[in-house]
Subunit: 261 residues, 4 copies
């Protein structure tokens, strides 16, 4: 990455963090103003300045202008479906072993949050095969992946993850559909021996049903975890956990394909 | 990855999961027996069989033999220092944005758990620069990285993270040392604008001191989180969170480099 | 308690729980209507009906009309100060050993939430000595205690808990002031040997400073805990922890008075 | 309580907290030594000294000798069944509204931990009616209640909580049996209108089944919570949550009796 890429250009997306710690993903454009509850700036002034610079709004509020990480960007995808949170994405990545060169099945595509992160990590030689039954989700995800420059690492496919998957010898299957147990048998066929199943479901009953299907079809080492994230307010003399907290996002089920030989 | 790589070979390391869900990382060798509290097997019998196969110990206990993921393998590194847990590693990865091609600073190397995961993820064109003040840690980490085939993605360097780091324009700095605040100034110089700082510390006072140093030197968007992992026992009619739980591992501090222009 | 007391009378306070699980403390009065976002009822119709009865609002929403427990009632006290939550109150009661006949010091009185619960529990022969430096808090608490019929179990006193407390041989001191460490020495004198200190503070630094004062003055067996409460949505096929959760309320410090003999 | 009661007498039970924070409930006796991993003391020396005194073991370890609270004492009851933890007891007390004068149903008696706390709180005019199907539990609980001087506030009864309960107009029913749903109908009849049901169950499926029974029989305002207790190690410069934590104890279900009139 050259130094030039660290200067903000016209049409770049930047992450603005305000004095009150509000976060906005903003596309810079000649002549475009960005407004929020803490005032406005003219984004023209950002062109040619480095990522990481500081600006002051018309009301005197001090903001920083950052180069968004991928995690920053996906958090601004339109929330047409329930999204997977970064804390859970991190755990999925580590437990599935997804990394450069992996071939990964994803179902469903949904908003494309997880698709984008997986695509980013399997570069440059791996591939994500992402299925969804809704065309509008696939089209929206396609657009976002192109914006992120990640489209060539993903095959978006219209189909039912429990029926239509054609790939084989995959390293991992990451499943985020309402009835993951219906995908277990098909995913078993697609995975290579010892391959990893990871599914996310918000309710206990979904998890129980998924466990039973995994056991029946021939997965093993099945486990279920839940992650609680606490934000800590750090300020000398006033340090404490934040009062506001997300009480639950999802349960994460993981398992490994076993084989009869 | 060819199909052959899915057959277990002499000297391969396998992950054995027993009927009672105990986990062992075992090196397969002609003529070698593996013993645990649930009996023994002769590992010779595993050679030529596929990963994911099932075996029965001499006492009738049923085990599965898996191809260990990287996360599986690092959990068996000798614990000479406090290790970073998978739940925290996942969050570090997502919040730092580390992926293929990234150039990452790590300090200190410690047991090499995080070094290995970072090396795995920056492949094939990125690099991890990992510093430690103890030669014995660097030597042990070097050996383990070679065993994992990850050594070419890491430069292990003897030195103090707060003083000796020479690299510049790095994407992220991942800091796990007792006094992270002493590394803040040096890391600021090493990171590219908008680059990411992530540090882990078990105590509140370390976090407060780190926050103050980050603020003073010119980092912004600083935050601190803590992750609680609950294991869920899933069994129809008997589903509940597990009674045993880790109460605390570490706080995770992240921040972004800002610049004056 | 006679059966008559189970029929709702004019001017009784009732707890109304709506179909959407909103909770309201309502005083019944001849001719008075109660309105909320789910419609209204005329409270006249409640007079003479039993607690626990069901009513239907003008919009067809189905509500239940309960006899509020003390915990229900205190949750509706005006929140002029940060209140102590039921989960924390329960832990304070059990760890302090407060029960019938106990003589308890409280500081400060604040909104009187904890004062009311303590008064209820020390009946009929015990006493709560509750101090506050603000007259308006004492007056408001006095009114509420009379409404609850608990005033004769409490002596409300204007004064600084760290200076003015005159009682001796108390069983427990329950401290909810911004600087509990300033009350430690005075409370030591007021407690009987082996008596219990319990204080609540939201920040880590308050807890550290309190521990140091307790140790210096002659308390022992000092501990600090934090309670996280998760609400569970229970519905067959859809059971999961609630998405909304309080991330932090307070730390609870407890200790025991030791003596030199 | 007179001052004399604050001097330790022969045959008193004391709570010894050692330098390493181990806790022991010890009966003082002329000529009896108490041994633990941190050395021994002769308990004779404690007679006539005040509760809260400090002693030194033969190995130089410094201990404190406290007057055990009721919560301290019940934690040393033999654990023949799964006990209810103080954090959960506290929440049960507050949500059930149990206090002086209340008439409370308990089922089952089990080890008598909760029975003892309830008995302590309903004094001097209330009563706990505690049922169990096992005679040996009732006998052991009877002995412990006498030791604590609480036996006159409890009627221990042999019987099935779902069938045999004869009392009526009770304020609350506290249920800790494996199949609480079988007790719902009987408890409905025993409670006065608007009376409180509280049950504890470790698994999700028990909770779901209990909710359905409560709804069917005529309870309302039903809720389910879970409490997580974190111990905090407080030491300036080294403050953090403890590494060891109980991951789960029980879910707490509460509900209110509604009536048709």
């Amino acid at each position: 990455m050259s130094y030039d890429s660290l200067l903000i250009k016209d049409s770049d997306r930047v992450l603005i963090v305000t004095e009150k710690r509000k976060r906005y993903l903003v596309q810079v454009r000649e002549g475009k103003k960005f407004h929020c509850s803490e005032g406005f700036i003219d984004t023209t002034q950002l062109i040619g300045r480095p990522f990481g610079c500081r600006v002051t709004s018309n009301t005197g509020s001090r903001w920083v202008v950052l180069n968004p990480t991928l995690a920053d960007r996906v958090m601004f995808f339109p929330r047409t479906t329930q999204v997977v949170y970064p804390k859970d994405i991190g755990y999925i990545i580590v437990s599935s072993g997804v990394g450069p060169g992996c071939r990964v099945l994803e179902g469903g595509t949904g908003t494309g949050v997880l698709t984008s992160i997986l695509a980013y990590l399997v570069r440059p030689y791996g591939k994500v095969y992402s299925y969804d039954v809704k065309d509008e989700y696939l089209e929206a995800a396609s657009l976002r992946l192109r914006q992120l420059g990640l489209d060539k690492y993903v095959e978006l496919k219209h189909g039912d993850i429990g029926v239509d998957v054609a790939e084989t010898d995959l390293d991992a299957a990451i499943i985020d559909v309402p009835e993951p147990w219906k995908a277990v048998e098909r995913c078993y066929s697609c995975l290579k021996p010892s391959g990893v199943w990871v599914s996310v479901s918000p309710t206990v009953e979904q998890v129980v049903q998924t466990f039973e299907a995994l056991d029946e079809v021939g997965f093993s080492d099945t486990s279920c975890v839940e992650l609680l994230l606490r934000n800590i307010r750090v300020k000398r003399g006033m340090t404490r956990p934040e009062f506001i907290m997300r009480g639950h996002t999802t349960f994460i089920v993981s398992a490994r394909k076993t084989v009869k030989d």
